[in-house]
């Protein structure tokens, strides 16, 4: 989890931070941990989330290798604009300067999910987005914006009643700055135990970062999206800090040895709206977007929007491979495993163990060494216990692209695992395909009386905040009350699952799955039924038929031949 595990334990975050800054590449979000040397040096006291996030290594240059002269084609050099000379004292002042010229950018961005944190699903009509959803990681951002809105593309989002019309609060820099020295802190300071997260921060040179703006690079998007769920690759499984500078075998598109794609090369869009939301995916893209003609809409992030729906080269093998495209998502074969490249993802989270203390203080334990040699926390007092995994086969499911969510008002049966998100799809549905997923399992609090999920009050400088006081009863009662949600007053723990479609970390073609991975009796698709697959399926009587026919024939000719030998010489 630390950047520089070779450094002495005490203060190594600060040392790493200074090292990175002197190299001209600072982290976007950095905090400093208070660590106490315990037996083995593996237990750290205090609360210090989000110290392990931010850009790793130099900021990438978002020019694809397909652009032969590798030059930026912008008609403006922002470092020469007088308007950006400053002085600026804070983010909103920079934003006002941006909006003086880009006078439609605010109208565009105020509609963006990164700003609103809300989304109405066009198919299900469900109200989704971080402002309301409950997940099975840190559970709810709602009511905890003081911390969670560290990753809001705006300034000072401290609560659910945020003014969504105040354009000067748009954070242009987090997406557009290119120095790597810009960082964000949680909007509020939380419990006093969290104070370490705010210490030792170098001041931001606002004019310098303002003059550095350009189209977003992986460093910009990744600073938040690679750390979803509270740490490196915790949530998605296919989005980790490895993708800042991935080797070619981890991601053939984003690797600097390959195409050097920035995120926006695939997540295309115009007017600060871009393609590729997980809420509503294009599970099968053969009609609208496969190989668009000039002038056609290309606001889609599907593989087919570049590769077409006959992506394999012509020939007998290509013909058979192309036969799969309508039923099997490209990702199913071309992303051979989840969490590749040395950074693990969380696969199980147990909130039941949260709240254990040492010397009256919360603590953390490292218990998993991931592929790149870094240790991950397997216990945190503020969150409970975790299990990690990396480079493991995904779970495959028929998927129609429409994600349905268990929201705060969904009543469920707690005797069965509750699916935080679920989806349709079947062999009989022409619009669904077989997709790879990371499945996340969690034991998390729920309202035992009403059989619903709960909002928890995790972050805050008060007696109810779980992060600091470690009392589920108060944290839940407060979280529910603040949002006007009926609460029975009794909580329990329910097993929840969430499903994370795997789209990133596309491997080079030579690492695509072998046919046998699925076309075998015990293959990756053994759980999927309702369709015939060669090598896996056969009518149960067919092998008996074959055995009887071929075995009977062999026995017949064998017996006939034996009789001839035994009776040789008789007669004639």
């Amino acid at each position: 989890m630390e950047w520089s595990p070779q450094l002495p334990v005490g203060g190594r975050h600060l040392a790493a931070l200074l090292l990175l800054l002197s190299a001209g590449a600072g982290p976007l979000f950095a905090g400093v941990t208070a660590e106490a040397e315990q037996e083995g040096g593996r237990v750290e006291l205090g609360i210090s989330e989000y110290t392990d996030i931010g850009v790793k290594g130099p900021v990438d240059n978002p020019i694809t290798a397909l652009d032969e002269d590798r030059q930026r084609k912008s008609t403006a050099d922002h470092s020469e604009f007088e308007e950006l000379r400053g002085p600026f004292n804070n983010g909103p002042e920079v934003t006002r300067a941006c909006l003086e010229c880009h006078n439609r950018a605010d109208d565009q961005f105020l509609k963006n999910k990164h700003w609103t944190w809300s989304y109405t699903h066009p198919v299900t009509g469900q109200k989704l987005g971080k402002s309301v959803l409950i997940n099975n990681f840190c559970t709810n951002a709602r009511g905890n914006e003081g911390m969670c809105a560290q990753c809001h593309a705006g300034y000072n989002r401290t609560g659910p009643d945020y003014d969504l019309t105040k354009q000067e609060n748009i954070d242009c820099l987090v997406c557009h700055e290119s120095t790597g020295t810009y960082y964000k802190l949680p909007p509020t300071r939380g419990n006093k135990a969290c104070a370490v997260m705010f210490e030792g921060k170098p001041p931001i040179d606002w004019a310098k970062v303002a003059q550095s703006v350009r189209l977003p690079a992986r460093a910009n998007c990744g600073s938040c999206h690679f750390y979803g769920g509270g740490g490196d690759n915790v949530k998605h499984g296919d989005l980790s800090s490895v993708l800042f500078h991935p080797p070619r075998e981890v991601d053939v598109h984003m690797s600097e040895e390959g195409e050097n794609f920035a995120c926006i090369i695939c997540h295309v869009g115009e007017g600060h709206q871009w393609a590729g939301s997980r809420y509503n995916m294009i599970a099968r893209d053969e009609k609208e977007h496969a190989l668009p003609k000039p002038g056609m809409e290309r606001e889609t992030a599907t593989c087919e929007s570049c590769h077409g729906d006959r992506p394999h080269p012509a020939g007998i093998r290509g013909f058979k491979l192309n036969d799969h495209v309508d039923r099997v998502a490209c990702e199913s074969c071309h992303i051979p495993a989840v969490a590749r490249g040395g950074v693990a993802t969380k696969v199980f989270w147990d909130w039941r163990t949260a709240g254990r203390l040492k010397n009256g203080e919360g603590y953390r334990e490292e218990g998993y060494i991931q592929g790149n040699g870094e240790a991950r926390h397997t216990y945190k007092s503020i969150k409970g216990s975790f299990e990690y995994d990396e480079n493991f086969p995904p779970v495959y499911r028929w998927f129609d692209g429409v994600m349905k969510y268990t929201t705060i008002d969904t009543v469920f049966d707690p005797s069965k695992p509750v699916e935080i998100n679920h989806f349709g799809g079947s062999p009989q549905d022409p619009d669904s395909r077989i997709w790879p997923f990371k499945k996340m399992r969690t034991m998390q609090p729920y309202d035992k009386g009403n059989n619903t999920l709960v909002y928890m009050h995790l972050w805050g400088d008060d007696e109810d905040a779980f992060w600091g006081n470690y009392d589920f009863a108060r944290a839940i009662a407060r979280g529910m009350k603040d949002n006007g949600i009926p609460y029975s007053g009794e909580y329990g723990f329910v097993e929840t699952w969430s499903w994370w479609p795997q789209n990133h970390m596309v491997a080079p073609r030579e690492q695509a799955l072998d046919c046998d991975q699925c076309h075998s009796k015990d293959g990756r698709l053994k759980e999927l039924t309702g369709f015939y697959m060669p090598g896996r399926d056969s009518a149960p009587w067919l092998d008996w038929f074959g055995l009887l026919l071929v075995g009977g024939t062999l026995a017949g000719v064998g017996g006939h031949g034996l009789l001839r030998i035994l009776l040789r010489g008789r007669g004639s």
Partner: protein, 217 residues
């Protein structure tokens, strides 16, 4: 009537037979690999060679059908009961007493009646069944109309069941080469083209007069 060496299998017929034999073995080997009976080669390679062999066999058969029709060779396969009973009785009974095979090849009739009936069944029933099911299997994406069609399982079942029947044919075919004469004696005509044929005087005269190259020494 004289028994003479006569070229009964011309060059195309022998090429057709041995190429078909090779392709059938490749198809059986790769097909049962695809079905999942054994490993050895990857699924990908098995499918590739299965498809290549199958398409080659289809091309070969297009030529073979043309050849059968234009040369009139198809008549050799016309089913008949004439002489059928002695052949059946030979395999079921007389063979154990060391009696000779009752059938003599005729110039206009290369196969004994049981043989001809078996080949006819193979050509009119098993081969078309395995090709049509195979082509439907191969081209499923062009008829299943965007969904995973339940018919595919039945097509595959028919295809594999027919393959079992063809394997049974191959076993019997090979075994029968050991009956009524040596294995080499039976295989030789398909290699050299020449076999002992009972000729009528008229047939012999015709061959000597018009096709002397078909008469062996």
């Amino acid at each position: 009537m004289p028994i003479r060496k006569v070229r009964v299998f011309n060059r195309f017929e022998r090429f057709w037979h041995w190429t078909q034999a090779l392709l059938v073995f490749v198809l059986l080997f790769t097909g049962f690999r695809i079905h999942g009976y054994y490993g050895g080669i990857s699924f990908d390679q098995a499918v590739y060679f299965h498809v290549v062999a199958a398409l080659s066999l289809v091309v070969l058969w297009i030529f073979a059908i043309f050849w059968h029709l234009t040369t009139g060779t198809w008549r050799h396969y016309l089913p008949t009961t004439r002489g059928l009973w002695p052949v059946v009785r030979f395999y079921a009974w007389d063979i154990f007493k060391g009696k000779p095979h009752p059938y003599r090849k005729h110039f206009w009739r290369k196969h004994n009646p049981l043989q001809a009936a078996s080949y006819l069944g193979l050509k009119l029933f098993l081969f078309p069944l395995v090709w049509f099911s195979g082509l439907a299997y191969l081209s499923y994406n062009y008829w299943q109309n965007g969904i995973s069609h339940p018919a595919l399982g039945w097509i595959a079942t028919v295809h594999v069941a027919t393959a079992f029947a063809i394997l049974a044919f191959v076993i019997i075919h090979l075994y029968l080469l050991t009956t009524g004469g040596s294995f080499a004696h039976h295989v030789a005509p398909m290699i050299t083209g020449y076999d002992d044929v009972e000729l009528t005087d008229a047939e012999l005269a015709y061959l000597e007069q018009d096709e002397p190259q078909r008469l062996g020494k």
